[in-house]
Subunit: 201 residues, 2 copies
DNA sequence: CAAGTACCATACCGATAGGTACAAAACTTG
DNA sequence: CAAGTTTTGTACCTATCGGTATGGTACTTG
């Protein structure tokens, strides 16, 4: 029975434009006008397709982890724990310093202080971040169980160590650090990794 | 010649209130009404005493580094490089997780993505962060020159490593990490420090 | 090609943003 | 205590915020 006028824009393309703006300007620094201008649609269309600004942002977060943040899921699938963390760290550098896209990390940015009106958004981002960190911890627990990590190692500590580094990398990138500089930081940091100095100095 | 009605509030106390609000809510998430309410003064008084919102924020940044951020300058004065970085890292944990104050770091938060209207604020914060990092690098260069760090060590890399960790600590704190968890991260990270495993595993 | 349906565009909503005009109030100086 | 100076409180400014009502438009279905 239904039919209706067809949508004149592509949903995913519009979502990508919104992601770009939120990534570059932050949730609070982005207005509906910024969004509609970047997405090439007008306000009612945005509302009909994505709901409120906050709902749109949540959909953008999904797109972020599926797209630019997809390296993380791939990294967890690496055979050895050391590889997992190397891929996470180098992936974080690429994510946050690739030319032509905003610097820094959408999640890291939005896990931090914001006005009361955006607090629910922040909470959602924090929850995602904690879930990611827990996923890494489980991966490292598995590695420990199979002997891929020493018996006296602490997966929770190790996972938090890696996440602290990726968080720091995102901040450094936002402040202008180059990928080369960050790769050297990672190289140094990995000397603390419990399977010894496998990447060698 | 001059005289005039005396100011009915304390400048530094008002600045501290403003710091608290900016720290908790971020520059963009804080309105003039939030500020005047917290400072206990009205709008024209705020303007007369501190200028625009942006000028007030810059004064708050100064107060931040002199007050809560003061540990950093003290850390640089420690006799050995290892002590310097230990104090910086543990100080960062205390700064960002002390109960009763906002979680996270004012500088780290504001070095990241924001709307175009706040971009000049962000640039200022980034400049401060880079200056701090350069200060640490010079301190480590000095340590290397005096043999306190190995001859093959790289002060720039080491300074960036430590700053990446403090940045990451701030993000972790904002996401709810406890001081204990972060101390264990620091303990692990210090195994990568070039003077060896001085803090022991 | 008539009926039904979903989308698009303009124009608008109340609320709030940062910032200020103005006059009353509280002080110092002569 | 009069003149001059600075702060305070109220009331208001324009611009923009996120969100929506409305009516025309383009399509699918029968």
């Amino acid at each position: 029975m239904p039919g209706g006028r067809p949508r004149a824009f592509d949903l995913d393309a519009a979502l990508d434009r919104a992601l770009e703006v939120f990534w570059r300007q932050g949730y609070e620094g982005t207005s509906l006008s910024d969004l509609t201008a970047a997405m090439g649609i007008n306000r009612p269309s945005l509302y009909a397709a994505f709901g409120t600004k906050e709902e749109l942002f949540r959909r953008v977060l999904d797109r972020y982890v599926e797209g630019p943040g997809g390296f993380a899921a791939e990294a967890l699938a690496a055979p050895r724990a050391r590889e997992v963390v190397e891929k996470l760290l180098t992936g974080a550098i690429a994510l946050t310093t690739t030319p032509g896209r905003p610097r820094g990390c959408l999640n890291v940015r939005h896990a931090q202080a914001c006005g009361p009106e955006s607090e629910s958004v922040r909470q959602g981002v924090v929850a995602r971040k904690l879930a990611d960190q827990a996923g890494l911890r489980r991966r490292l627990e598995e590695a420990k169980a199979t002997g891929d990590l020493p018996a006296d190692s602490d997966p929770d500590q190790l996972a938090r160590f890696v996440t602290t580094l990726t968080d720091g990398i995102a901040v450094q990138a936002a402040a202008g650090a180059t990928p080369e500089q960050l790769h050297r930081v990672v190289e140094l940091a990995l000397r603390a990794w419990p399977d010894g100095d496998a990447a060698g100095r």
